[in-house]
Amino acid sequence: MGQCQKKVYDTSPAGPVLVGTSRTKFDIDLETWESITGKAPVQLGIVGTNPRPILSDLANDPDFKGTVLVDVMEMLFFMPDGSFAESSAKKRLDYYPRWSLSQQAGFHIGRKLEDHLLFLDEERFSLNSMLKRLPIKSRPGVFVFPNFPMDLEYASPNGQLAFTNRFLQDTSAQHEIQGVWTKLGLLSTKQGTGGDTLTNIINSVARSVNQIKARGGRVIFVRFPSSDPVWAAEQKAYPRKLYWDRLLKETGVTGIHFADYPELSRYQCPEWSHLAPADARTFTKDLTRIIEAKTNWPLQNVLSQNNF
């Protein structure tokens, strides 16, 4: 995080800072992006969280004049302040300023060790995770966060997430995670946040956007692909007109919605919500081209400079 904090000051359209959810981490292939523009984006996406606190933090930082690509996954993006998704993101933000020298030293030692040693996957093999997987029925009425399959994804040091080959080949694991989405409400068609809460959310985003733009920075919204029942539910719970279109209109930000582009909407997400690694590569390639065409931001110029 500390390293990222320094890197964000150096972001540009060619290498923006990515703010969002797991979809940013799965769907943008950082290596592909870098190979096209010559500059790697800074991945600040956090799984299962609301991106607004990070966006607002960048907006409040007078030294930040870079470019932000914001992942708008409606269910998380329009979660009100104080919700689990919002406070989880805030918790991470609050951590950094209180990062002691000792924690920084520990982080750097950890990074060095990780390159040479085998480390435990905390989400799956820690004692608590293993206990959670025991077939013990919970008390009725208690929400228990569902378990993700054991061999779902791998993470790279730069923050890239990608499905494992085993997961891509294992349809039962894919069904398992589809079940997780059902439990987490991704298939719910119940209308999302509305009324004053929604207005306040959009106003706060507009404020952040204006702060960034006033310093010469840039912001772009991207709606990443989802498919099958998840996409169907999202359209019902978050009708485009009431959320996406309103967000773009009231913030004055350019947005790229996957459904508007055949090249971005041709994908079938293995578990209905994230792209497979091979698809993420072609998706990223098309996305950079579309961003440049729609915004006239100098992405391809960098490409040209790199190629020639």
Partner: protein
Amino acid sequence: MVFNSYSFVLFFVLLLTLHNLPFSWKTKKINLLIASYLFYALWNPPFILLLWLSTIVDFYMAKLISVTEEKNRRKLWLAVSLVLNLGMLSYFKYGGFLLENFTILMNSLGVAFQAAKPDIILPVGISFYTFVTLSYTIDVYRRKFEPESSILDFALFVTYFPHLVAGPIVRPEDLIPQFKQPRKASSEQMIWGLFLLTLGLFLKVVIADGWLAEASDLIFSLPFPVNPLDAWSAVLAFSGQIFCDFSGYSTCAIGVSLCLGFKLPENFQYPYASIGFSDFWRRWHITLSTWLRDYLYIPLGGNRVGRFQTYINLMITMLLGGLWHGASWNFVIWGGLHGIFLCVEKIVKVWSQKRRKPAMAEELVLQATIIPIRSKNASNFLLALLTFFLVNITWVFFRAPNFDSAILILLCMFGVITQGPKMLSTPDMFKIGIVTMGLIFSHWNMRNRSVKGLFQSLPWWFSGTIWAFMLILIILTQKSTGSFIYFQF
């Protein structure tokens, strides 16, 4: 730097290596002192200045106190030390609290007063090292011992990293004499020290952070009432968490110190098997309770000034003891409840002693019967359970973020509010239940024993298996955990 971090592993390995190289004893002490400053500075480097200030002022004040015969002058030098140490503590720890309460008082009196919120960061461990240095100057003032002549030994006594940030609160006689002669851990001390470090980390990482923190943090952070079972579970979870976290730290500190060849005093003696509150305070945070006894309760007159004044003294000691833990009325209430329980216990004791005399004949009859009327052990166990129950009630105020939350949890616990939702999963409740039963069972069985004695009585392969088991569980649980709870005090 926390014991459960990569930084500490590297730090400790380097320090142990340096300490075992053939340097002079003075060089080794300088190494330890520099390492201790580094250990502290890695939190917030500027606060090291406070440590230096406290060390230098107390070193010289103690010298002046010792060489001055005139009473008033001696008092003046002592006052300089007290004002500096307690002043720093008050400013950093209680500044915001005092201002907040002053504002409330003014507003309640109809005076429109609004103070800017002070942005004061609490230096880690200030409550601990302030008490360490205070005990030194007070004892020199009392002519308990001569002031330390070596500033190196004194600085090392104040700053020695294992006890610096969360105790045990050492006294000069605990540590300074150990700095006089070259010390290196024997192989037995090294093994036992490493074992204690493992045990402390096991308590902290596996039990406190891994099994209990999440449940207690969740329930105590909720703004709405919960199901009574969840409220009780959260309190029991915190009860286990605070013990495993704090005694875990003390055990690590004692173990780390032993690896360097120095002994630190015990801080916990199976408190959840206490029979009554006097017993509890002989077993919980022993170095704080003895400090408060020696430097507050006894100077106030202790129990030598009549029964009523004894109760007042007890209440003052416990209220201030509560406030020592943090600048919040909840801690004062926590201390106050402990004070009340201690007073009630004393009253009951006096009453039962008076009652026992006429009942002696009746007791003789009972003892003469062949059927045992009651087992002493069983009744003691029931008393220990009652004490544990009451201690848990007090923990609610200790843990809750504010008074209203504490009352809400208590209302849920005692079934006044029953409509709250169920929040904790069955596995979470199993974990809390297992730890609670385990703590009560182990504390009760170990009441009059020591861990060392127990392990020496076990076959080597069995102790080794337990050690390995703890290490495996630490590895399987370790994550980027937070600090020890007592760092914030």
